[in-house]
Amino acid sequence: MVNLGGIRKEVSIELVPQAQVGDYVIVHVGHAIGMIDPDEAERTLALFGEMSAMAATESAA
């Protein structure tokens, strides 16, 4: 059972057998096909921010 913003739906986790309650998964055609790694997600978001922070320092230099 996955929850997206309050909507609950049953999907198959046969392809992601290691998924536990509380994990985030990516769903396609009724199946979970992969898991989201929360640390990597944070790192990616920080990367977006970093890239733009570099813009600020470069233009200041």
């Binding site: 913003g5 309050g6 909507i7 739906k9």
Partner: protein
């Protein structure tokens, strides 16, 4: 009434007719034949629920008095929604609200409805009674009377439980001109509340999709809201309710009818988070999902604030928002500034996104 003895030694009142078995009974071909069975069905289910002076006269039609200084407005809608009962409503309520709203969108006060039922052989009487009572409640709440109607029965397999067609008649005073052809560049576009609720509520019941949600249909009569808006601004240009095809389709219709373009602000369009999520899950765009209790209004720019205030003061307009402006555009595009910072066209709906949603 004469009494007579029956074989068991008790008395049976002549003229006694056994009432319909609502609990277990079903529609059969006899109910559509126009004879006694049909008459009993009409009396016990329809007349009992809709009861009013017009119906009590027992004629095939209703004679209506038109107030002086008014024009008549007429609108019609058929309802084939599946499933018949969904979170927040049913086909009965929908059939009343839909037509009441269509009349109201012309700036008119809805007064009288006709209701025509096509019933499938085998349809449970209990369901029919539930639907008709729902219609009666909706009509009472909206202040309209169901003054005439019709019932037909088709063989099993040739219908889908029940199809309902309603026609509504209302009156509009001279001088009020609300039309889809009136929008002018510079006008402001207002929306009365959140989008996509009805479509998502109905979809959640469709078998192959089955997702759990607390979203309910927004089906509601809007004539009270319209009356307040017209009082605040008699020069309202356009009113329309975004049903099938959603806000996107309705705005495109108006743009074409008025010969204008539009520019919307995505961030200003109210959407419930759960509706957003459901659309994300199903690959839908909330702008194209049906609504049954919302309206779009186009008003002159200097009146926008007072109309918005009137909307927000009414229970059916509490979430009203200003969502865009009318522009000069020979191509009649409806464009939108996206939350992301880009711009895109909000085109007509292509193909069939959601079948049998209304």
């Amino acid at each position: 009434m004469n009494a007579r003895d029956d074989s068991k030694g008790g008395t049976v009142r002549a003229g006694y007719v056994r009432p319909l078995d609502i609990r277990n009974g079903r529609i059969d071909m006899g109910h559509g034949a126009g004879g006694r069975a049909a008459s009993q069905l009409i009396e016990e289910i329809f007349l009992a629920a809709f009861d009013n002076p017009f119906l009590r006269q027992g004629n095939d039609g209703a004679s209506l008095a038109i107030p002086q200084g008014s024009r008549l407005v007429m609108a019609t809608d058929a309802h084939v929604i599946s499933p018949l009962f969904f979170p927040g409503g049913d086909i009965g309520a929908l059939s009343v609200h839909g037509t009441v709203n269509d009349v109201a969108m012309m700036g008119a006060t809805p007064l009288w409805l006709s209701a025509s039922f096509i019933l499938e052989e085998g349809f449970p009487l209990a369901d029919l009674k539930r639907i008709v009572q729902s219609m009666a409640a909706a009509a009472r709440e909206a202040g309209v009377a169901v003054v005439t109607g019709d019932t037909k029965v088709v063989e099993q397999g040739k219908g889908d439980g029940v199809f309902i067609s309603t026609t509504g008649v209302g009156v509009v005073p001279h001088g009020i001109d609300v039309s889809g052809a009136n929008a002018r560049p510079g006008d402001v576009i207002l929306l009365s509340g959140t989008v996509g609720d009805h479509g998502v509520a109905v979809l959640s019941q469709r078998e192959s999709l089955e997702f759990e949600t607390t979203i309910v249909s927004d089906t509601a009569a809007l004539n009270g809201l319209v009356a307040d808006m017209l009082a605040a601004c008699p020069a309202l240009r356009t009113l329309r309710d975004p049903t099938r095809g959603g806000v996107a389709t309705t705005l495109n219709e108006i743009a074409r009818q008025s010969g204008v373009g539009m520019l919307l602000d995505e961030a200003a369009i109210p959407v419930k988070p759960e509706v957003d999520a459901a659309c994300e899950l199903l690959g839908l765009d909330p702008l194209y999902v049906a609504n049954e209790g919302k309206l779009l209004a186009i008003v002159p720019a200097d009146q926008a604030d007072s109309v918005l205030a009137a909307m927000r003061a009414h229970p059916r307009g509490a979430d009203a928002a200003r969502i865009g402006v009318v522009t000069e555009d020979p191509h009649h595009f409806v464009q939108m500034n996206t939350r992301f910072g880009g711009r895109r066209v909000v085109d007509w709906l292509s193909g069939e996104q959601l079948p049998r949603i209304c």
